[in-house]
């Protein structure tokens, strides 16, 4: 083994691989998705397959007096009809609190709750059989308003005290206080020169993913079941499914099927248990695909919220105190409500230094649709309120709203109201400066109008009349990863072997690729760490350990981190092999361009030669630093893994006569620590910003007396391309030393501040208070709620 060491030899092998980290290789699923060739979970098919379907309650609150399935059972082509009586194992499941029956038992608690399931040889047969199930209801008065929920003596209990499983009592699922400084007392109030109060309302937003809930359950010979499923977290699905089936976890095997978006809406189970129960019962593969309408009933939504804020500040704009109360409507079952409450309480002061805080956040049980995880997770609602407060305070003080925010912005070393020190960069003031410094879009040119550029667009409502421009700013703070003592570790298995003379890395995790681009990043990490060209991504399944959830902006941090650890372990073993074989004593070795390279001595040996016929196959777990639960009474505690910040500037045109809005531009600046894939990072920021824009001006599930009024994309509106403005993005990379590569979770922060920035801009254009999102034309024209 001889090494020729020349400058030339080192060229090309020390430069980073263009498709390694920091590059923007295209996603492997991208072209397939654009061409409509990607196989989503709803596209799966199996020989002999049956179709499963659920009967759902048309009422929001009712006692079930009887369920008669006899006619449905007799319907030709029907293979099984099941109610809760037929469940072999535990009857309840839940993400954090097991309070949700797999099939309704005696009581209906929300509109659309599943009562019975059918498996038949054709979906049409299943539908007809469902129509033959006779359910007798005693309709009960609904418990849906805050007043009703908080007075169970008068209005009743969603979960009777005897069966209550939440962490609080009455109709409260969970509550969390945060008290810091002196709290908010008369003495503290007296220290403020100005006081700003406000009541805010956030409507119920939906994740509106495009791929409806679907999956295929295949019974296995060992009495277990194999489930192919579109989800966000394979292992926690399994943890909830297995007990209901009465099976040990190792007999329930999950493989990820093609996921058409998630945004938190797939963190809870939907059709998983139903498909498995029917497969178990019939001994045949069972596929369930929700229709779009059923999908609106089949997943949890973003918590609607009522928020009351009072801020006190000195004349020169320094915040003195904040007294806040956040009431989140959790709906019928707990879902992720406790963690959402934790976030709302701990992040509800925003990215500001507030010396004295009194915060209470609660989530209620009600007969409204269940609410749980959605991008931004408890931090979105609060951001709308505290940012509105900042604008009001700036107006009261006659200050520039950006300057007011900068004066109070947290920075590295600041102490959060929970007592947690921010021990990584927190460039809040700088992010605001950056969005403000971007050039403003040109004024509307009314002499050469293209109606597509103005509010109403092709609907042709204005030729320039009534249009007023406004500009608004906002910034937010989000946590990354699971908080409050949760160890949401990730596992990765990496195998290095020679195929066709070339070293190939295989990355195997249980990470749910829901569109975030995790599979692209895993390939990049493996290329960078192992110096290989070829990386295969193994299908995600439960044969490998948990990867945690694709949520909380955590997957690149956590599973990306696990892939990095596993690659490092493989590299160490490979190098050890080389040391043993060649007696190397270098301690400057790395893997570059398919070779083992010494920084001092140059390329030593091709990886393929060193490995030969052997393979290195190692699995590693990645745990983030530990956190602790927040103290119940004071909210104190090192509760969050990492903080992330994004700032927005929105420019809008409002037709003030018709109340129509066109967002002209939505600029963002975000610190991402390290952009592993800059193109994906910008995509995440633009996507998150758009989802926030949707909440600002159109997205709302309308619920009346517990009934969902708009379960379709005809009336649940999400932004189209004509609603989505140019979105310049400034990406900052200030490394967080606690995180792999210094990276910071990206996906959620942009969803927080875009909503208040858009609304601030509308306020500037109209002069209206606008304390509720989404803002509707009615609110801008004084013509209704």
């Amino acid at each position: 083994m001889s090494t020729i060491r020349t400058e030339k030899n080192l060229q090309g092998i020390t430069t980073a691989h263009p498709d390694g980290i920091g590059g923007s290789p295209l996603r492997p699923d991208g072209i397939l998705k654009v061409k409509g060739e990607f196989a989503y979970s709803s596209d799966m098919w199996h020989e002999d397959m049956l179709w499963g379907m659920a009967l759902r309650s048309p009422h929001a609150h009712a006692r079930i007096l009887s369920v008669d399935v006899s006619e449905a059972v007799k319907h030709p082509g029907v293979q099984a009809v099941m109610t809760h009586d037929d469940i072999p194992g535990s009857k309840f499941y839940g993400l954090e609190i097991k309070d949700q029956p797999a099939l309704a038992m005696g009581k209906i608690r929300y509109h659309g709750e599943a009562i019975a399931i059918v498996a038949a040889d054709h979906p049409e047969t299943a539908r007809r059989a469902l129509a033959k199930i006779k359910v007798e209801y005693e309709i009960l008065p609904t418990i849906t308003t805050e007043e009703q929920c908080l007075d169970p003596e008068t209005y009743g209990y969603v979960h009777e005290p005897a069966e209550y499983k939440g962490h609080a009592s009455g109709n409260v699922v969970h509550s969390q206080k945060v008290i810091s400084g002196k709290g908010v007392t008369d003495e503290v109030r007296a220290m403020a020169d100005v006081v700003i109060k406000g009541d805010y309302v956030v409507g119920m937003q939906d994740q509106a993913f495009l791929g409806p809930e679907s999956g295929l359950a295949v019974p296995a010979e060992d009495g277990g079941v194999d489930l192919y499923i579109a989800t966000q977290w394979l292992h926690v699905d399994r943890e909830q499914i297995a007990p209901v089936l009465g099976l040990p976890e190792n007999k329930v095997r999950l493989t990820l099927a093609g996921v058409g978006g998630a945004f938190g809406g797939r963190e809870d189970l939907s059709m998983q248990i139903h498909a498995c129960l029917l497969a178990q019962r019939t001994g045949k593969p069972v596929k369930i695909v929700y229709s779009r309408e059923e999908s609106f009933f089949g997943h949890v939504h973003r918590h609607p919220a009522k928020l009351t804020y009072e801020h006190g500040a000195t004349r020169d704009g320094k915040l003195v105190y904040c007294d806040a109360r956040i009431v989140l409507d959790g709906g019928a079952y707990a879902s992720a409500s406790p963690a959402v409450v934790g976030n709302a309480a701990s992040l509800g002061m925003g990215p500001y230094e507030v010396p004295n805080v009194n915060m209470l956040a609660v989530a209620l049980y009600s007969n409204n649709p269940s609410c749980g995880a959605m991008r931004g997770f408890g931090a979105v609602q609060a951001c709308f309120a505290y940012e509105a407060q900042m604008d009001k305070l700036a107006a009261e003080l006659g200050m520039d709203p950006v300057e007011l925010r900068q004066i109070n912005a947290v920075e590295q070393g600041s102490i959060m109201p929970t007592g947690q020190e921010i021990d990584a960069p927190a460039p809040v003031a700088d992010l605001l400066r950056r969005v403000k410094a971007l050039p403003l879009p040109p004024a509307l040119d009314t002499t050469h109008l293209d109606v597509r550029d103005i509010p109403g667009a092709l609907s042709n409502t204005s030729h320039g009349e009534g249009i007023v421009r406004g500009v608004g700013y906002a910034v937010g703070i989000k946590n990354v990863g699971f908080s409050e003592g949760f160890d949401d570790y990730s596992t990765a298995r990496v195998r290095l072997e020679v195929i066709g003379g070339e070293p190939v890395a295989m990355v195997h995790t249980a990470m749910a690729e829901v569109g975030q681009g995790g599979v692209t990043v895993h390939g990049q990490i493996a290329r960078t760490e192992l110096g290989v060209e070829q990386v295969t991504i193994h299908p995600a399944n439960t044969e490998v350990g948990s990867a945690g959830s694709t949520s909380a902006s955590r997957q690149t941090y956590m599973t990306g981190g696990a892939v990095k650890l596993a690659c490092e372990a493989v590299r160490n073993e490979l190098v050890a092999l080389g040391r043993k074989r060649y007696g190397w004593t270098y301690n400057d070795l790395s893997l570059v361009g398919g070779k083992v390279v010494s920084a001092s001595a140059g390329a030593l040996v091709p990886i393929a030669d060193l490995l030969g016929d052997s393979a290195i196959d190692l699995t590693r777990e990645h745990h983030h630093r530990p956190t602790v639960p927040f103290d119940k009474e004071t909210g104190q505690g090192f509760g969050h893994v990492q903080y992330t910040f994004c700032a927005h500037r929105a420019v809008v045109d409002v037709d003030v006569e018709l109340g129509l809005v066109k967002v002209v531009e939505l600029a963002a600046a975000q610190d991402v620590g390290k952009a592993l894939n800059p193109l994906s990072v910008v995509g995440q920021i633009q996507g998150g910003s758009t989802q926030g824009l949707g909440l600002a001006v159109m997205e709302e599930i309308v619920v009346k007396d517990g009934k969902v009024r708009n379960p379709s994309f005809t009336d649940y509106l999400i932004p189209t391309i004509l609603d989505t403005p140019p979105m310049p993005v400034e990406v900052l990379e200030l490394a967080d030393e606690h995180a792999p590569y210094g990276l910071r979770g990206v996906g959620e922060a942009p969803t927080l501040s875009s909503t208040p920035a858009v609304v601030a801009a509308i306020r500037q254009a109209t002069g209206l208070a606008l304390n509720r999102v989404p803002v509707r034309p009615e609110h801008l024209t004084g013509t209704g709620e």
């Binding site: 667009a457 042709n460 018709l658 509106l717 609603d723 034309p777 709620e785």
Partner: protein, 301 residues
Amino acid sequence: MEFLRPATWDEALAAKAEHPSALPISGGTDVMVELNFDRHRPSALLDLNRISELTAWESGRYEGQEGEVIRLGAAVPYARITRELSTELPGLSLAGNTVGSPQIRNRGSVGGNLGGASPAGDAHPALLAAGRDVLVEAESVRGTRLIPIDEFYVGVKRNSLEPDELIRAVRIPVADGPQQFSKIGTRNAMVIAVCAFGIALHPKNGTVGTGIGSAAPTPRRAVDAEEFIGGELAERGLWQSGGLIGPAAIQRFGELVAAAASPIDDVRGTAAYRRHALAVMARRTLTWTWNEYTQSLRSAA
């Protein structure tokens, strides 16, 4: 479910006579949604897509209608109306241009809009505004019936077709003056109208046509507003002079349009907003059409 695929118009009429409960399907942009949502389970579908006359239009003179008329085949998609007929049928072209998305505009048709007769259909206000002599050509094996547009809409999603009838075409007089169409939606594309308004100036007979969408059980015209503004224009000699209508009359016109509606509160909007928006759209579109008219007077002079 049976699927009938007539190759000719006569076969289609025969099939409809034999299966009066068969649901015609043209662009399918309403029918397929109804099927997918399981709101409708017709015993048979009558596919009209093989019948080429339905996707053609011609211009000519017809009995009972003054001047040049466009005979618009029932299945001509909106995209083609906007592309090919924006001069002859400006109001309908503008309305068609607000329908759904490019995909929907490539498939959806005026015949389908009329067949569904939804109060939210965007073609209706434009057709109503285009004149009282707009005629729906309904045909059956029994013969042809010309239904004046004012008699076509009879209830929520109900029209005056007989069970054995199909829409062959719509006969619409070529515009003799400016026409406009405005529609409110809570986003900037792909919306069902919260409310909509169509207007057409008819200098030849000195009238103004209007149509209101999504603000009453059926599409309807704002009769009082039409009479008021027609009277104003005539009495003040404005058709000839091309003078300004003036803010008071424009304001009054808006109020009368709003008053003609019977809107409801629903998930898409409140009744109060609908009335308010109709008044604004009425004022704006009247101003646009009048400006265009006076400009054409001036350039003709």
